[in-house]
């Protein structure tokens, strides 16, 4: 069936099988491999992107369910060579090691900061409680989000 949706501000149309999971559509059909795919059980949160402004686990959405909706992926955080503060926070506070969980973490935490600009450590931990990081022990992820809360203007990407 034909589906049309907006992805990072651009309209895309593709012919897909209705059973295609949104995470695979985004990665394999659109080549946006920033969104990761880590489990079959809706537990890990590596696949989190925004659908109509809300973080969702894209492995638990069928592609046609996203038709007509607005999708935002991690690729949309950086604008014109300028990192979003949440990205800058992960860089400066070592919020990642292997980076597998990072796109999902950043999408959830960007949303958190948009609705709660000054979250406590507890609020950050609750927000990411549906997402698994095997590397950092979460401590530096919390620091990265706090950093982003304290630095709200973006900085130039330093190569």
């Amino acid at each position: 069936m034909q589906v049309t949706m907006t992805v990072n501000g651009k309209e895309v149309t593709r012919d897909v099988e209705p059973r295609l999971l949104l995470v695979h559509f985004i990665r394999d059909e659109l080549g946006l491999t920033g969104t990761h795919w880590g489990c079959d059980t809706s537990n890990c949160g590596a696949c989190v992107l925004w659908m109509d402004g809300e973080p969702v686990k894209s492995c638990t959405v069928l592609t046609p369910m996203a038709a007509g909706r607005e999708i935002r992926t991690v690729e949309d955080l950086e604008q014109d060579g300028v990192l979003d503060p949440i990205q800058q926070g992960f860089v400066s506070q070592h919020g990642l090691q292997c980076g597998f969980c990072t796109p999902g973490m950043m999408m959830t935490c960007r949303h958190l900061l948009d609705h709660n600009p000054d979250p406590s450590e507890h609020e950050i931990r609750v927000a990411i409680s549906g997402q698994i990081c095997r590397c950092t022990g979460y401590e530096n992820i919390v620091r990265s989000v706090r950093w982003a809360a304290e630095h709200t203007t973006s900085e130039e990407v330093s190569a």
Binding site: R19, S42, T60, S129, G130
Partner: protein, 291 residues
Amino acid sequence: MQVPAPVEYERATSVDDAIAKLERYGPEARLIAGGHSLIPMMKLRLARPEVLIDINDLTDLAYIKREGDELRIGAMARHRDLLESHVAFEYYPIFRDAEEVIADPVVRNRGTIGGSICQADPSEDLSAAFAAVKADMVIQSSSGERIVPNPEFHRGPYTTAVGDGEMLTEVRVAIRPGCGSAYEKVERRVGDWAVTAVGACIQLDGDTITEVGIGLAAVSAQHFRSAGAEDILRGGPATEEQFAAAAAAAAEGCNPSSDQRGPADYKRHLARVLTLRALRRATARARGQEA
């Protein structure tokens, strides 16, 4: 990689349209709401519907409101809506207690109240919470609306009173003066299903319990409920001795099985302890001693 079996997909534009589509496609068609129970089951091929009817456009069913003496929750309200609802919290804090520990925040953005109770997983937290508050379920078909009282809604694991060509549209809970409610859950880690969970709702007239509901999840209680514990408490004083007797009855009346979440005797122990805690908290709330 787990992939659902091939399936057709359609979108419903209204409740009538959803019902018409269910009638057209017959028993192999399934409604899909948040999809957070159905899609995982389809990936595991435990569910193989031929047609999915997406009801996410029925946003007029996403309400949580007071109407007359009832709290009314539309089937398409999401877990997050119930968690954040002031009107639900005002009359029934049990729902906030439960929603804080259902799945995780991202899953709660999608999963719906209707999908949750129609899934009827034996561990579904809201089924126990709705059993405790004795909610009525509103079911619609092309011949009209019928209201099913809570104990008759759940027919067994994964089966409900919702028949072919029907959909759940609303949950109704009577607003009762002097009522307090609470939910207690033990889970292995954040976002996991309950090892055991208990909801309690108590209505007091002075120190006398005039009405009470005890709901249990994950321990195979009939209709997610302990009628035995309720019978002990109803009409008696709200005392620790009564609570202990009711908690023992709740533990005795359930039928937990051993699985990866714990052995049966541990779950039975939890059923007793959590019933006690839920009763204490519900009572404190009924007396206005706790938010």
